[in-house]
Symmetry: D2
Subunit: 459 residues, 4 copies
């Protein structure tokens, strides 16, 4: 009956980009979102402001499918924010594509949100009781209603009021008629960086967006910081109570692009180091090391370098894959994997193989890849995972399935090894992971590996 | 600066259709809207309910452009409401296409509205002050927020609460999870009829929608009546204070389809009678009577019958016209008229002509048609209008321009005759009009002809 | 097995337009085709030439659906020809949309054809034997292969060579790199008129295309004439053996637009006169005369004028109908007719009615309309047809069904009256028809009424 | 003036797939083409035959953009052929998308062609003289006209007749009403392999198409072989005069997918070996080896293994790129490269780098990548190319530019090194390349490296 629940629909992965004071604001936002496409492939939107009016264009699909010269030209103005979004499902999804644009007391405000609120359900219940109508099934809309209810005068004050009531992960970009306001939650779950391009200010989820357009990265927006960009310049506020920092370690392991600097570290280098540490913790006697492409490549290179076992691209990834794919009725074995990944018999045949991947979630895809490797002649298959076992879901913006679907939540290493049908299985230890990060555990959220959730969702 | 004003954006012409308890609810709603297409050609939507879930499909364009087998099939359930809409403009129009579908306290409610609220601006201001966010620029959304704010238990009570606060014209269809609720304002500005089709209940703006599907018209929904259709049957309430009846006389003159019965009268017959009365009031010495097709045809037939002057289709209308039309840069004289209307030289040449139209709004189109007639050889042109001079805008759901744009608001008959360049000009008198209606004036709203507005818009 | 036969696929109704020497050639061709839309609603194409290159754009659907600013802009040059087409069916229809554009000996040639060849089957067989590949299933392609095979030097000579071998009906427009060549078969079956617009030459199937753009009609292109328009001016040739003239009388009765002048006569006036003659031949005692709209309107006006029985628009036509229409599974009686035509009960009830139509082909639609009239209360229905009984198919470009499907080929008047379920039935006599035309029979092809085919199709 | 020339339009890269005797012929062809997508991304088509009728569907774009359930369902039958195509440009490209489907003597024949004819211009001239009309600008159509002109009885004989007249590269699939006929030119320029899937026969350009659907590769179709697949079984003919074998070595170097077996060798392994040989011939003192992804990866792995210099993915490729991309007006330096490739500063900074690519064509892209590497901090850049300098165009089906555009046709190694702005440059020698192939030179066409063209194009 209830179509709105924190456990399913609200789960979102996203990327955001904003720019203030550039004559080609929309075009550059489009480029920034293109660079952030890996953070969300299901929907994309841009809102611009031209000094008189906000313009909005959005659609379902990839950035280059949704945007073209015609709708980019309609996005007039030298200020803009944009959003790419991955969402699980829902038949009415276009509504949920961000940025949201609403009229609050005769002023328009746009909002793009990366993250996930943990007290959305209870806030929604309270708002509904007092007569609020919800038009989306996204938790982001709650923030807007809270802003509308604040009795403060300026948007920055009203946003502060609203955000004091919400809990969870949020890297937010607001676009009013005067200001581009950027806020990051006090834990700093999701990344958010500030840059500069020929006098204009830019903000993005990852630095790779800056690279593409030749913008310079200035600094991270800090956990708990509100940055207000206007014609008067850049103002920084810290209006919230301080908490401990909880960067999402999954950004380093899997989610961010390898060419980005996230939480001050280059992602590719982190992954190579995870692979080296993995080789130290779980050596293997093997002929070759192969990655599950593309995300497993850096860790496999690290494993190969540390172990001295030669690296080979033993599986070829087909990048032409589109949204939907017609499978013949007459079932093809392991079709879902083969449509993306094809092993090379001549590389694998008769070999003992280390296969490096960055994570095992349900285990079903890994099992199919292992079957393929065997089918193509692999003698031995040793799986090495460049992260600890994933035992819990994420409530802060990574789209992991529920606990019961996570293979490592109910099976131990040996059972998983058996399930996958491999000759050996090794996970990077949490200690090894954090040692590579050379950080105290307290700086990172590792809840999906150790069940220590900094905030729990409220029903 | 203000993007929301009662004088422009809110002006809407619309048609509504609803059905309760038929296995092909969406398909029949589609047919009903097709029959009501003349009431709004810019956007169309249908919401259905299948016992578990509401489904919504909408788009910009004509009924047969927006709907096809695929999206009609998605509209599951045996209850549905639909809406066709004409709106002036706006870049974000899809949002405004109805029915609106919102979640109020965890229950979904859909709304389709024909009419126009006159206290929308002041209600909106009050709602905004208390933190309401508006997602559309349509006055219809106000009704939904008022419903959400009501503390009553059932939707019918909450709707009653809400409608007690609004003023203006409204023929409304609500679709909740249990009921199809139909309400007409106490003045009865817009039509709304109730019918029956093989045990299912149907409601529509005009009876022609019933004809197409073979439904039987039972009766008008009365001014101030709320009809609640549910599995328990049909319940009629009169929860509002009674006012005088003010049917929109323009429905008879121009807006409704000639094959409909509106306010108890067949529209075609009324128009023929207007034409006869016009011939009595403003005879002419002429060779032929021609209509401005299609809407002027019945009155021209009446004029011909009363006067004995032969009727001819002296102007041919091209019905293939689409939404946009590319005009060559090298301007073609009177192109905007010629793309729709082509006179026949052989019929007009050397003749003295009575041209009958149903109204003159700005006068610019009429002037161009007259120029065309002369260019095709007409010796004399006598314009006869089957309605009184339109001197004021409509605030109740007919899309007339502002007062200053209405030619008859600032020019007298002789000046208009001169502007049009015609040999004589005659308007049907208000008295003649009402005599044909054989009704007391008080039953009809004739504000656009006599400035006696039953309710004035509030800022 | 055989997918190509003169009896089915080749049957085509079409309209053509051409222009030479105007900076907006494509835009004006688009307008011309829009005005000729009634001659073919299934496909449309334009070829332009810009002094260096031919450009082609075509598609299935109406002129304003297929063409928009973008593809019109691609049609560069100041010379163009276009074609609208009605074709019965076929899954590969886009190929058959004209103009055809081919490369003959390294020169491009475009061709638009209105009409139908009667020796297509035998010519095709001969060409195939010598190694010709056919890419379309249209008889028009045969003309191009014959041109390619001619050993003459210029296109006008090669076209002459080719056309000497074909038989049947053809009004043709060719666009080479230098010339716009217009040819009409020696019988003059289909119309083709020459006009002038600000120094540019224009050609069209009907004069209404000229009216829209303000072009002046100069004259008909004569039966058997070849008009060559180039930068050197207009040249007229008569390269073919003369035959008797055989104008298609169905253009006057039904096919052409009423505002066109066809074969030197205004179509509307002819139809009014047919109606008057019909009233003389088949009077009726009735209360009102109503047309089957839109094509029956002029004849009904004529019938009313001659008989003195009042004219009424007793049936309203819905012009919003699109290509496809979803019919509810739960069958609606006479749905196919009701979707287009709705009678007005108040006009018909208790009345004795003369219903005027321009032709009865299969009789099935007429039967349904009669049923509707009775259902809406008509006391008596007298059908009057403003043409003689259609007893044979057309081989010259009108899409009539095969002989066995024509109701009048196997039933006499009384049997048809019985089939339709009407109180009386009267057809205009062939003598009456020709008397109105005030022409010798020999000037018109009346084969579909009297079986005297001037050329018979060859297998 | 001349819009048809062997030097521009005819140049094509393609892939073909065919299947005979499988209930899901079209679906599997779709999968096969998806696996061959790298051979042509601009257009795709499938023709199927259902025992009664051929069906054709084609479009511009990627396989998964053009095909969907609806049009695949229309491709009925258990026999089909398909084609992916890369073509340079042309406004009328849809026409050129293959398979071509034509009617020859009342029998339908479909053709898909990978390769390039070298005597197309002269054949076309001869055919045109005798009255042949060309509907495409593709050389493939010539083959069909030659077949139509043959006086032999069966399609296999007529195809043999036709192919005796053409010269150049062709791997062809024909689909008649009875047979799937596969032919490869006598040189064997392009690959073509025969396989088996659950009793059905399959043919494809590369074995990777078989892998995806679980088909077994049986053997190569041999140079000069015609394989006729029908319900009677598989028949092999060798109807042509034998010539020397001339496999295209560029398939191994760049064009084929690394997971395919082409000319009997696995492509990935060949490329790794090329990289090893390259390291022997052109060692470098460097900190890391990086590939230009994706095609340079295997050779870079080989170079790293042979040289012992660590392999790193120093450049990240963005795979989301679509057909068109909007570049901001305010030019971004090296935008065209950056939209696809982003270097990682942390990997490159202060390092001496070996960058491995598989070929340098014009040199402009390589130059931009080198600039990017320097901008991201590379201390030294040593470019190593896993093929000899490309000094001549390909006339046999690889889309290389004209000789004058090939940087190595006019510049020597040192000049290119200077142009690229690199610290050193090394190409794999032709001897080294052939030694890796462990083949006599005579088995491979290496014309683009040594100017020894086995057949020259005829004007």
């Amino acid at each position: 009956m209830k179509s709105w629940s924190v456990n399913s629909k609200l789960k979102e992965e996203c990327g955001v980009f904003g720019i203030f004071g550039h004559p080609e604001a929309a075009n550059l936002t489009y480029l920034g979102l293109y660079a952030l496409q890996h953070r969300g492939q299901e929907g994309v939107g841009i809102v611009s402001y031209d000094g008189k009016k906000h313009h909005i264009e959005k659609g379902l699909g990839l950035v280059h499918d949704v945007f073209h010269e015609e709708n980019l030209n309609r996005l007039k103005g030298n200020t803009a924010i944009g959003h790419v979004r991955y969402s699980t499902q829902g038949d009415d999804v276009l509504k949920n594509v961000q940025p949201l644009l609403v009229n609050i007391g005769n002023q328009w405000l746009a909002l793009a949100h990366n993250g996930n609120l943990t007290n959305a359900v209870s806030l929604k219940r309270i708002l509904e009781k007092s007569g609020t109508i919800f038009q989306t099934t996204s938790d982001t809309e709650i923030i807007l209603h809270l802003i509308a209810r604040s009795q403060k005068d300026t948007f920055s004050e009203r946003i502060t009021d609203a955000l004091k009531e919400v809990e969870g992960a949020f890297s937010l970009l607001f676009l009013s008629q005067k200001e581009l306001i950027c806020v990051r939650d006090t834990y700093g779950f999701r990344p958010l960086v500030l840059g500069e391009l020929k006098g204009a200010s830019v903000v993005a989820s990852e630095t790779t967006a800056f690279d593409l357009m030749g913008a310079k990265c200035i600094r991270e927006i800090e956990p708990g910081e509100m940055v207000i960009i206007s014609e008067k310049g850049i103002k920084s506020l810290k209006p919230f109570l301080k908490t401990k920092t909880q960067h999402c370690i999954f950004e380093h392991i899997y989610f961010a692009r390898p060419d980005s600097v996230v939480f001050g570290k280059n992602v590719y280098e982190m992954r190579v180091s995870f692979g080296k540490q993995l080789a130290k913790e779980h050596p293997a006697k093997a002929d070759i090391v192969i990655p599950v492409p593309d995300s497993g490549v850096p860790a496999a290179i690290g494993y190969s370098q540390e172990s001295g076992i030669p690296f080979q691209m033993g599986i070829i990834r087909n990048h032409y894959i589109g949204r939907t794919f017609i499978e013949p009725e007459q079932a093809i074995r392991n079709f879902g994997v083969k449509i993306k990944l094809n092993p090379i018999r001549e590389v694998l045949e008769g070999k003992s193989i280390v296969m490096v991947d960055d994570s095992i979630i349900r285990g079903t895809t890994s099992k199919k890849i292992v079957q393929l490797l065997r089918q193509y002649g692999a003698k031995e298959v040793h799986v090495r995972v460049s992260a600890p076992p994933t035992i819990g879901p994420c409530f802060y913006g990574i789209d992991t399935p529920t606990k019961s679907e996570l293979i490592a939540s109910s099976k131990d290493r040996q059972e998983i090894q058996h399930f996958l049908g491999v000759d050996s299985l090794g996970y990077l230890s949490l200690e090894g992971l954090l040692q590579v990060e050379k950080n105290e555990r307290s700086l990172f959220c590792t809840a999906c590996f150790d069940d220590r959730y900094p905030i729990l969702p409220k029903d």
